[in-house]
Symmetry: C2
Subunit: 700 residues, 2 copies
Amino acid sequence: MLKAFFNPRGVAVVGASTKPGKVGHDIVANLKNYGYNGGVYPINPKAKEILGLPVFKNIDQLPDEVDLAVVAVAPAMVVTSIYELAQKNIMACVVVSSGFKEVGGEGTQLEKDLAKACQETGVRIIGPNCVGIMDSFQGLNASFAAGMPNKGHIGFFSQSGAMCLAILDWSLDNAIGFSKFISLGNKVDLTETEILHLLAEDEDTRVIMGYLEAVEDGKKFMKAAAEVTRKKPVVLLKSGVTSAGAKAASSHTGALAGADAAYEAAFSQCGVLRVHTVRQLFNLAQALARQPLLAGPAMAIVTNSGGPGIIAADSVEKLGMHMAGLRPETVDELRSFLPSIASVYNPVDITGGAAAELYGRSLSITAEDPNVDGLMVILSPTATVDPREVARLICEEKTNKPIFSVLMGRHSVEESRIYCMEQGMPAYDFPEDAVQAMAGMMQYRKWLNTKPKPPDLVEGKKEVVQGIINEMRAVKRREMSETEARECFKAYGINVAQSIPAATSDEAAAAAEKLGCPVVMKIDSPAISHKSDVGGVKVGLKTPDEVARAFLEMTSRVSRLKPNAWVRGVLVQEMVQGGRETIAGVTKDPQFGHLIMFGLGGIYVEVMKDVSFKVAPITREDADQMVKSINAFPLLRGVRGEPPADMAALSDAILSLASLVTDFPEVSEADINPLLVLPRGQGAMAVDARLSLSRPNGEE
Amino acid sequence: MLKAFFNPRGVAVVGASTKPGKVGHDIVANLKNYGYNGGVYPINPKAKEILGLPVFKNIDQLPDEVDLAVVAVAPAMVVTSIYELAQKNIMACVVVSSGFKEVGGEGTQLEKDLAKACQETGVRIIGPNCVGIMDSFQGLNASFAAGMPNKGHIGFFSQSGAMCLAILDWSLDNAIGFSKFISLGNKVDLTETEILHLLAEDEDTRVIMGYLEAVEDGKKFMKAAAEVTRKKPVVLLKSGVTSAGAKAASSHTGALAGADAAYEAAFSQCGVLRVHTVRQLFNLAQALARQPLLAGPAMAIVTNSGGPGIIAADSVEKLGMHMAGLRPETVDELRSFLPSIASVYNPVDITGGAAAELYGRSLSITAEDPNVDGLMVILSPTATVDPREVARLICEEKTNKPIFSVLMGRHSVEESRIYCMEQGMPAYDFPEDAVQAMAGMMQYRKWLNTKPKPPDLVEGKKEVVQGIINEMRAVKRREMSETEARECFKAYGINVAQSIPAATSDEAAAAAEKLGCPVVMKIDSPAISHKSDVGGVKVGLKTPDEVARAFLEMTSRVSRLKPNAWVRGVLVQEMVQGGRETIAGVTKDPQFGHLIMFGLGGIYVEVMKDVSFKVAPITREDADQMVKSINAFPLLRGVRGEPPADMAALSDAILSLASLVTDFPEVSEADINPLLVLPRGQGAMAVDARLSLSRPNGEE
């Protein structure tokens, strides 16, 4: 597929035009103008010649050595073209025509027809509604963009055509190069997932960079990304984060933007480096494409001015790295030749009066220090130093550690900055940009340091859960009763507080006797999911008598407030003492499926929003990380002499929950709230349980 | 002073040089080359002529019409020059010579001598160790910088000379203009405070922009900034934030960088807009200099491409503004002429095929919508639209609402971007830059909407506090006993839990009888500030007998663990039930003085670091804001049916604390922990109190 799209023997342009300025004309011109050495075959029923090339009347007349077609006809004619291309065994196709899903109405139907044509013929399609594709190494420009990217090792794809054009335009004057440039458009067939695989195979691509508004199939994407990121870094800008962004996203491409928590979790679980601005996308991608990977977080700065050195050091610490402590040998060596007023500690400030040559020596010596993992060189323009000379020395430096150069200013340094970029040295305007790229690189290093591992799945008693689900489906019920939910969690090894259902006050008193007071009483009704809102929970009932009275009071109150709710009775439950409330839950994200949540119970979740997420299924390490990554984690580890909580038991419960929903995709929501965690060695216990199912397929 | 420095009748260059490349030569050249129409008087004992100007042998020979001197002689000769200048009544001086405080050792002494010369002569000095000063409107370039800023309305000052040079260099190719450009250097005399006043007076300056590593005198600075920011926005980049940055800062200029919390609080209390990167500094300053102020947070976006529109909408929400809901009339009018596939809601997407003219119309119509406070225009390069045409239409738009233009890309839009900048329209590369500038502008609008107000001071019984302090000073004690600290807080109107000191077990039992059980017992020793660490706190003692036993146990335990601590006995204290633990405290920042802290008690402070700060003295509104701005505030407002806390009582206590330390500057630290807040109307109560004093002046 890579070959058909990017190294085709010949390219047909369906809907080629004789008129300059028309898309169908610009594509032919682009194919001719950038050194592509295969044949270019314009198709137009009326024209004889376009830009000196003979024109074909229709697809059928094309010669055999055509592997790729660019389709730029009116939207209503695109589907027919696909069938005709398939007839000629042209199986790769870029549809630039617009007027599909993005315009709604009839366009939506046209897009469905196009999808069907894909499936029936096996023709692979990029687009529709895209700008096209480019390969700088093949000189192939199968797009209507104005220009061709510089050669380079960033493989780029974008859901938005405008972002393609803007990024191309930006790159041309910044000496940023691309291997492949792919405009995804509406993604009727090839999505980001296939493109990831395609760029992963591509030898010219070292870094994959992309702009997305939504992922089409979250699970497939995660699987692909988890593989690809082991070979090459993947840097993505995903927009549509906030509600306003998401609103704009859905009016733009009709894509349903998933909740941001799911994207955040999914990207981190499959090693995707997420950035949040276009500038960050460039900053990080160019560093990854041009420099060796950081081995660790210890940075050294060589600068000719204090202020920018301070700003850089600030950013280094803020973004989770640290300033390297230089070895005494390094310090001594620097002191031996730098001016007396220079600072020979990190940041190494060679001072504004220092000549270019001192930059080179300081950089080499600092780079050799084993305490240093990565280097930043900052140049502020001064009268005494020639930035071109400094740029040359930086680019000549031989080290296997990454160097990030910052040439402050513009007027007198732009030439040198572009020189650096051309020489393969990432060069930035301001220190913060460089540090942010370092931080992204560090994140990738950490990802590579983790071992790929299949998810850990707890073996549950599937038949128990299946039985309950079957019963529910039979009566078209989607909300489990608490008893049922407890059974399901128990079937996956989660400790649940003991409880006994009771239908009468006598039964309730007997249950309390059996469990031992104090007990908790809860209303038992599948129709009532928020029990405390209707006075359906009583804690600390001290005697069987009190329990009996509470039964009458609770049931009569609930029947008054919820006259139509079917009430089975109550659950009488042992009252677990001590321990700390946590919450574990599941929601279903439209793109990525089950999203597991963990947090400290009560106000930590409700007020502080202090929760962590992962997409199921997960590994044990993922579960541990969910527990550790909440802000309130020190509370679980124990503060002020309190014993540490049983964190392993929390991970167990989270894993069980993830396994349960992985086995039963029909689960749409689940909550264990509270999941009471006891001191280390004493486990965790589900005190309240909820679980609901998705609508069965086809049911509204 | 403004006139002497920036509109002098003549300028002397002390230490002028005949050799190009020397600082003393470049200054003379800069004074000659940029249109300054006063006299330039080089001084050099040996030379006859420099750049065609006659040279004076010494300061004494200068004519009378010299108001400003630029001093570039060897550091050891600078002080003498100041006395000579004073003799000639030249009272404004820029010292560019380096070799002072920044090099340590002898330089530190030279700087002290220079400070003395200032005081003795009344000569005002900018520097030493600075690049110089420039005034683009006067054509005055009294610096050794390579170049002169474009004319514009940003007044800039910088503590770092390198930042001056880099920012000047950057501005030259970006059509960013400056009114005044001031390199502060070591700030031996004029500091950021005087410069703020000076730029506030300056008619050519609309926005003040600065780079600082530390503020010299926090109180003076805050007073000046609070005044100045009412007239003009002040945008500051303050580095040295993290520990690494602070370390680099102190090795750079010897300035002691204050804790960042103090800067953050101080800047926000006096309306300074703080930015965190150099790019943000530019982004915001150019918007404030060139556009009318935002009236509110409702933004509209006009774009020719969906992707960038989504990114922009995301950023708008993320930074605390929102996307305006357009009126139906606006929507209808847009629909009447835009292509059918355009989005007529906000973001208004006029589509990639739209001609420039549609930009202009859409922008005008959207700007007229009363629901819109500010506008962003985004242009992505496409084949159909001429960016120059769009730039012209944007610049011609007549509206009193701010417009931020984003010209995505570079190659095909740079010319248009620069055109916008030249026309006074802020123009950015990427949407996020523009939104960040909007957010800064919004913050300034909010500041202007607050009314300036003197601090609220609680009238305390000063004599009580003074008495205790006198006793402590007499015995050279710096840590108050809890009883003393309680007395001080009580003297300023803070409720303290009742307590009775007891020196024997019988006294303790009697105290418990009097207060009513249960009670709390705490060890009473000025030598022990963390009582619970030594078992010095017992809560919930239920009977006088239990109290007596606890006394013996506690005192013997403490004397075992802290054999040398003087123990007065214990405090028996009423046990306040209910309520929520908060903490209020004071620390002393070296730059800004007393810093008041508020947070929720216990783990919220220790684990979540969820606290707010203000510099004392404060207003009641400040106190309210401290309470409201912690993340856990919803807990105080009441969640899950709990009653709201007595927030007014918390503000009262915070105000009292701030008043106490304002009256007694010798207080170095204070803690009310916990400050128990009861439900609304029931007040707040200090349960534990600590207070300590600074070392008296002169004592080590």
